[in-house]
């Protein structure tokens, strides 16, 4: 693919009503603050551009222009000359939605904070006045002022809780927001009545402070999700594929894969990914469908063969007629399937909701008991109601509502920094409960690309020559060799001997690449026995010779990680779509006795379902499109970053790097987080067992309520911060570098 080829960027351009146009890019290669100035300054020198602004937080660049002659690909080229790679970027709906949600929560938070501070100002005056010389008139004035601030503020900032409580009640369920909303409403209502009766105590400050604390928890939770989404969005842009469309005139234009339509004719060159499902109408080649089926052996593709989006064209150029383009590909089908599975998953009852289930009845019974007790003791109905409501206020699950999100945010943040991105906070709980892990083989236990196992043993000059020669071959193994060295320029005058290999002359000396016989190289037996299942390719240059061992290598730490997982008492198995002959050695090397090969996606799902039916909590780790349904049906799922877009975007966690130990680290962190969550719930329970009797005795003043509420919230937040101190288990330098590249 040549760099100068014109790309049609119009699908990514936003046209605004005032005649201006803008476009966003995800930019790769930004690693220091100086990049901001360099990028913006050189882009602003382009003629026709109005503005260029780089967002350093999420590595996105926005350019704006009005001049219709301006071509945004100039910006891409300018950046490329400076060493940055810019990928046109279109914000996904989900991400835009999250951004709006974040803004809204911040507005709620600001209003609640403002109200809480000002009411506290009035409340402190009243509290100190009550023990000195405040007049009842002034106190009433202050209470009315508090009411004037608290009521609109609560109506506005309390919306997230009221809405969620309402929707829970509509489905006849109780979540944490029900007691929260009830507590807020009762506190406000009682305070209003008390104020009207010129009473000494009003609880406006408690109600608003409660909203403020709870919103803090919500915002943190949401911020974590948004950060993960932003990374995922950039990665999607980095991986975004382009297609080459053949026009009727015979011209070729480069278009974004998302702009492919049915019946388009696409030219697919060797090494390119197939952007849409289609039928081959010209040329022949081999395709690697490992991402689609898990099968690692290439499949032959000739005229009439149906190909799936996501496969890689290995050998010759082919022409494809698109049968399902843009929004109708296999990938999108899987996406829908996953969406459905995600909805199913939300049926998992979270710890917080389980706590709410016990919590609400207990608290409400306690309040009722308080009321009954005071009535029986011969007090007035007014005093009995006040005591009962103060029980509800003091038990309002401030700490309880912070207990879990605070831990989730801290744990997810710690994982984020080591290159593991969680898609949902609730995944932590499900990960902590895992007792069985099902691995896919290709691309999950093994590295995503086959590689030359013995590259280090071979003279680099010889390797370079072989790789350059390999460029001219259509054989898939040669493709691996060529990609390994990133060679661009083939040798002139290469002759191909079908079924044997290729040869060319360099400075008068003949080079041959191909089978051992063709190159007159004797295959070293020890190479074969050391790498069973590997493919060998021979090379001769004059007197010098080499044998390359090409193998789908295991991730470097796979064996250690598997051992460590087994030591944690976790059951392990491999489900692969690949041939038994390819799976057996991997299973043997890793010491996993429970493996199955040659499974299609439906069979994988069946195995996972069966495990679940036997009461196991299954973590599925997979990357392929064929894994997507089983990823979805497992209790929780993880994908490497190289996974198919659709699987990855919906997986509960995505990890970067060549190592497998993120799986182990995630589980250990999840278990630690769950322990902290439970501790937090116990802390909240202890707080309640102390506070409730005080409230039932009718001794709670607004001052005690405020102190108790802030104190307990602070306590659970501090406890949650302990998740940060998790030991980093042998994170390799390379992995940390990879993580920072994506995460900073």
């Amino acid at each position: 693919m040549s760099v100068t080829e014109a790309t049609d960027l119009s699908p990514f351009t936003h046209r605004h009503s005032d005649g201006t146009a803008s476009m966003e890019f995800a930019v790769e290669g930004i690693n220091c603050g100086g990049c901001i100035g360099r990028i913006e300054k050189s882009l602003k020198q382009l003629s026709g551009i109005d503005d260029a602004r780089l967002n350093f937080t999420n590595r996105r660049l926005t350019i704006a222009w009005t001049d219709p002659r301006f071509d945004p690909s100039q910006a891409v080229e300018t950046l490329a000359r400076m060493g940055y790679r810019a990928h046109p970027f279109r914000q996904r709906d989900s991400e835009e939605h999250e951004a709006q949600e974040a803004q809204r929560l911040l507005r709620y938070l600001a209003v609640a904070g403002f109200a809480a501070m000002n009411i506290m100002l009035l409340s402190v005056s009243v509290w100190s006045g009550n023990v000195t010389d405040i007049t009842p008139e002034t106190r009433d004035l202050f209470h009315w002022l508090s009411a004037a601030i608290a009521l609109p503020a609560a109506a506005y900032a309390g919306q997230p809780f009221f809405r969620s409580a309402l929707s829970a009640l509509r489905t006849r369920q109780v979540n944490m927001d029900v007691p929260i909303s009830l507590g807020i409403l009762l506190a406000l209502g009682m305070s209003l009545v008390e104020t009207a009766n010129h009473a000494e105590h009003a609880y406006f400050d408690s109600a608003v402070m409660l909203i403020f604390f709870l919103l803090c928890g919500r915002y943190l939770d949401q911020a974590m999700r948004r950060r993960t989404r932003a990374v995922a969005g950039n990665l999607a842009a980095l991986k975004a594929e382009f297609a080459h469309r053949l026009l009727d005139s015979g011209e070729i234009v480069r278009i974004p894969a998302s702009a492919v339509h049915v019946n388009d004719r696409l030219l697919i060159r060797p090494g390119e990914r197939i952007p849409a499902d289609g039928v081959v109408v010209g040329g022949q080649s081999h395709v690697d469908e490992s991402l689609v089926t898990g099968e690692t052996a290439p499949r032959k593709a000739e005229a009439g063969a149906a190909l799936y989006a996501g496969s890689i064209n290995l050998a010759g150029a082919i022409t494809l007629r698109v049968t399902a383009g843009g929004h109708d590909t296999l990938l999108d089908e899987i996406d829908r399937l996953l969406d459905k599975a995600v909805k199913d998953k939300s049926r998992h009852v979270q710890l917080a909701d389980r706590a709410a289930r016990y919590y609400a009845p207990v608290v409400h019974t306690a309040a009722a008991a308080t009321f009954a007790g005071w009535m029986l003791a011969g007090q007035s109905a007014h005093d009995a109601i006040i005591a009962a409501i103060s029980v509800l206020i003091i038990t309002c699950p401030c700490a309880l509502a912070l207990a879990i999100p605070a831990v989730q945010v801290v744990a997810a943040g710690t994982l984020f920094r080591s290159g593991i991105f969680l898609n949902a906070g609730s995944a932590i709980e499900r990960l902590a409960g895992v007792d069985t892990i099902v691995f896919d083989k290709t691309g999950t236990l093994t590295l995503p690309e086959p590689c030359i196992v013995n590259a280090a043993d071979i003279d680099p000059v010889l390797l370079d020559h072989a790789a350059r020669l390999a460029l001219s071959s259509r054989h898939p193994l040669a493709g691996v060799l060529a990609r390994h060295r990133g060679q661009r320029e083939p040798f002139p005058e290469v002759a191909e001997e079908p079924g044997q290999g290729i040869r060319a002359a360099l400075e008068g000396v003949e080079m041959r690449l191909g089978s051992a016989a063709f190159c007159a190289v004797t295959m070293p037996q020890e190479l074969l026995s050391r790498n069973p299942g590997a493919s060998l390719i021979a090379f001769r240059h004059g007197e010098r010779e080499a044998v390359f061992v090409i193998h789908q290598a295991l991730r470097p730490d796979a064996a250690d990680t598997v051992r460590a997982l087994a030591a944690q008492g976790i059951g392990l198995s491999i489900l692969s779509g690949d041939r038994a002959a390819a799976v057996a050695p991997v299973a043997r090397d890793l010491g996993i006795s429970d493996w199955q090969a040659g499974l299609n996606p439906a069979e994988k799902v069946a195995v996972v379902r069966d495990l679940k039916a036997r009461g196991r909590h299954v973590l599925m780790v997979g990357d392929g499109i064929n894994d997507a349904p089983s990823l979805a049906s497992a209790d929780v799922s993880m994908s490497p970053i190289t996974a198919a877009d659709m699987s990855q975007a919906q997986a509960d966690a995505v990890f970067v790097g060549d190592r497998l130990d993120p799986v182990l680290r995630t589980i250990l962190m999840a278990r630690k987080a769950r322990r902290l969550m439970r501790e937090n719930l116990w802390l909240a329970a202890v707080y309640n067992t102390i506070a409730v009797p005080i409230a039932m005795a009718g001794l709670v003043t607004p001052l005690i309520a405020a102190a108790a509420m802030s104190g307990s919230s602070l306590l659970v937040t501090l406890n949650a911060l302990r998740a940060r101190t998790a030991r980093q288990r042998n994170a390799s330098g390379a992995e940390r570098a990879a993580a920072t590249e994506f995460a900073t």
Binding site: T57, A110, F114, L121, T135, T138, L145
Partner: protein, 53 residues
């Protein structure tokens, strides 16, 4: 107690000003790029040469 007549409105007004300032800054995108802002302040390319130390 007549002091309250102006002290309370002033207190509330100050709080409200802070709130409005925050809402404005939120809308103006001041929080969109927190990491970038920390770096941009060190960039002095907008100054003429004569202004540089």
């Amino acid at each position: 107690m007549s002091v309250l007549v102006y002290l309370v409105p002033i207190a509330l007004g100050l709080g409200l000003t802070g709130l409005l300032a925050f809402l404005w800054s939120l809308r103006a995108g001041q929080y969109d790029d927190l990491d970038g802002a920390a770096i941009r302040i060190l960039d002095d390319d907008d100054l003429g040469d004569s202004n540089r130390a």
